[in-house]
């Protein structure tokens, strides 16, 4: 019974922490202006939340179910395109589809925005985002049927190949009316245009929206991982033969995990399109999958909070903190011959290699943030008592 109360309290604290974080992001969104030096923080939050969701969804598959898939970029591509295609307003369509006759002539944000006003636009964006996830999940189902039977590294290479096939299909000229061929999609509902009119004041939502999407999705993944299905996934990861012998249908559960992971990969793709204001197939190369995988490894395979931390650190380091390494001066050292374009990524990949080789468990191992913080607090609380005892001697 004490257990139950403690769990309830923990859940409540987590909920409050998440809400406080969201409120903070909303506030930062208003305070920091694009001209400010701290604007980088918002960029990091936007991109970081996109990658955090991508990393967590990959972790669900690689870390929690033990299915080593490298097709993430492909599913994010599907999500980004689905979102973009269904969110381009009608008056922008002809400029976007310059060389083609656009086949999809529906924009959910516009359609619902016209009918219901501002709330409708938001609902339309939500529908497009969900659709992005669903289409990615449907593709995942189709590819999962043949490839999920494959063993670890064969599965990795098959999914990697699938992502490349998807990239080619989306760039095919014959599908131009839908995908705009190898040209980029733009002018759809995107973060920089998200605003909330509230009693005369205008609130900017450009950072809040992607962070909110990531937070909600990650929360759902946390719920899933801790449910009976999540436990079954972990059993499959730990010992497939034992899992099957204990009545867990491998094909069904692997498929569930794969489709769920790809659903959220699709959502993160949509979110990425929103943040970058463009969608282009050529950005979703296997290098993107590798980067996401390295974020997962950095944070710790099998830890959701680890993936979030990994993604945020990865983006902060590569976009912000290590920027000086590329532009001549870093930590006050001025050496333009060494600190030139690309040095940042070299340093960064060396750090990654060090983590991979010497800190194989990553930052969090397979633990979660509340647990680690709880331990820290407890240790901190017991320290003064120890000192006192020593003083008495």
């Amino acid at each position: 019974m004490i257990d139950k109360q403690a769990t309830k309290r923990k859940n409540l604290i987590s909920l409050i922490a998440v809400l406080a974080f969201l409120a903070l992001v909303l506030a930062l969104d208003q305070i920091i202006k694009p001209t400010s030096r701290m604007y980088m923080l918002l960029t990091v939050l936007q991109k970081g939340s996109v990658y955090a969701l991508a990393a967590v969804s990959m972790n669900l598959l690689n870390g929690f179910t033990g299915l080593f898939s490298l097709g993430h970029a492909g599913f994010m591509l599907i999500g980004a395109y689905t979102y973009a295609i269904f969110s381009i307003p009608s008056d922008a369509r002809d400029t976007v589809y310059q060389y083609f006759d656009a086949a999809v002539r529906i924009s959910f944000p516009e359609l619902l925005g016209n009918a219901l006003g501002g709330f409708g636009t938001a609902l339309g964006v939500l529908i497009s985002v969900l659709l992005a996830g669903l289409v990615a999940a449907v593709f995942a189902y189709l590819i999962g049927l043949p490839v999920l039977r494959l063993k670890s590294d064969y599965l990795a290479i098959a999914t990697l190949g699938f992502a490349e096939i998807i990239r080619a299909i989306f760039q095919w000229k014959k599908l131009g009316p839908v995908t705009n061929g190898s040209n980029l999609l733009k002018n759809f509902a995107r973060c920089s245009t998200f605003k909330l009119e509230l009693g005369g004041t205008t609130l900017s939502l450009s950072t809040f929206v992607p962070v909110l999407i990531a937070t909600v999705c990650i929360a759902v993944i946390v719920l899933l991982v801790n449910s009976t299905y999540g436990r079954a996934f972990k059993a499959i990861r730990d010992d497939e033969v034992a899992a099957e012998a204990m009545g867990i249908n491998l094909a069904r559960h692997k498929m569930l995990s794969f489709c769920t992971s790809c659903f959220f990969a699709g959502v993160s793709g949509a979110s990425m399109a929103m943040v970058l204001s463009i969608a282009q197939a050529n950005n979703f190369k296997s290098a993107m999958t590798y980067e996401i995988l390295l974020m997962v490894v950095l944070g710790g395979i099998g830890s959701i909070s680890g993936s979030v931390i990994g993604a945020m650190l990865f983006i902060s380091a590569s976009e912000w903190w290590l920027r000086g390494l590329d532009s001549g001066t870093f930590l006050g050292i001025n050496a333009p011959d060494v600190f030139r374009n690309g040095f940042r990524l070299v340093v960064f990949s060396i750090i990654i290699m060090i983590v991979v080789l010497f800190f194989r468990k990553g930052i969090m191992g397979d633990r979660e943030l509340p647990e680690v913080l709880g331990n820290l607090l407890r240790r901190h609380a017991s320290k003064p008592a120890v000192k006192e005892a020593q003083g008495n001697e």
């Binding site: 009976t228 299905y229 436990r231 079954a232 990861r237 730990d238 010992d239 204990m246 009545g247 491998l250």
Partner: protein
């Protein structure tokens, strides 16, 4: 024997790998409430037979029936049709082939343990047993994720605790499964199998790697499980003491073939069994 209900029945099970016949025309039955042992020297084909029953392998020929209904059935097909060295190749040829995956058989009520313990190593003792309850869920993916299954989850957790108390592991329930001593890991594996509420418990060499004292404890434990749960048990073992102590009936195989069956007393005095275990000098 006929007054008792038949739980498991094997008809002419043959398992051939390439040219090697590992199990040859094995027929046996296990009745309700019995403890039946399948014994034989190392390499006799015990574990192969076990794997053919539980769906890990497809038997090359033969049929397994569970609670009176056929659950596994095969006959030599494809390449094997020419290579087949066993007998009764035609017996099941006209019947439809049944090749369920192990989880389907577990769902029907067969639960097993493994010779080389296979616990989920990153999970706690409690969770190892709880995961086995997954099979009995009524919730679906969405209701489980969004916690629409609170009552069921509560009930399952209580049942798991109950089970852990019975097998004497409730004091270590929060420990990592693999941190337990060997004997307790065995017990946990049995508890995990029991969590699926089986009608037949199948133990694959439960005493493998145990010292005499641990084996004695295990013998008592298996006896207790039988009486506590009124469980039917099929046991594979080559620890003679354990088998003779608790089995109602024993089947003995050697080189894949059934060489004797009967009560422990009969088996103990069977010359072929003694020969198989001690070896016969051919050129004496």
């Amino acid at each position: 024997m006929s007054e008792k209900k038949n739980v498991l029945r094997l008809d002419n099970i043959t398992m051939q790998f390439g040219g090697v016949v590992a199990v040859d025309d094995l027929s046996m039955e296990v009745n309700e409430g019995e403890i039946v042992a399948l014994i034989g020297p190392n390499g006799a084909g015990k574990t192969t037979a076990f794997n053919a029953i539980t769906g890990v392998y497809e038997p090359t020929n033969g049929m397994v029936s569970f609670l009176g209904a056929p659950v596994v059935r095969n006959h030599p097909q494809g390449k094997m049709k020419k290579q087949y060295k066993g007998s009764n190749a035609e017996k099941f040829a006209s019947d439809p082939v049944l090749n369920p995956t192990p989880d389907k058989l577990t769902a029907l009520g067969m639960a097993r343990t493994f010779q080389n313990i296979r616990l989920w190593k990153t999970q706690s003792v409690f969770d190892n047993v709880l995961i086995a309850k997954h099979m009995l869920r009524t919730s679906n993916f969405f209701s489980a994720t969004f916690r629409g299954n609170r009552a069921e989850e509560e009930k399952q957790r209580e049942e798991v605790l109950e089970l852990l108390k019975i097998v004497g592991l409730e004091d270590v329930q929060h420990e990592l499964a693999t941190s337990l001593p060997y004997g307790k890991q065995r017990r946990l594996e049995i508890a995990r199998a029991l969590a699926t509420k089986p009608k037949l418990l199948m133990l694959d060499e439960p005493a493998a790697g145990m010292n005499p004292q641990e084996t004695d404890e295990l013998t008592a434990f298996i006896g207790r499980i039988r009486s506590e749960f009124n469980m039917t048990i099929l046991l594979i073992e080559h620890h003679m003491d354990l088998v003779m102590d608790i089995s109602d009936r024993i089947y003995v195989i050697d080189f894949g073939k059934l060489i004797a069956n009967g009560t422990p007393e009969v088996i103990q005095n069977d010359q072929r069994v003694i020969d198989a275990y001690l070896g016969v000098e051919d050129d004496a």
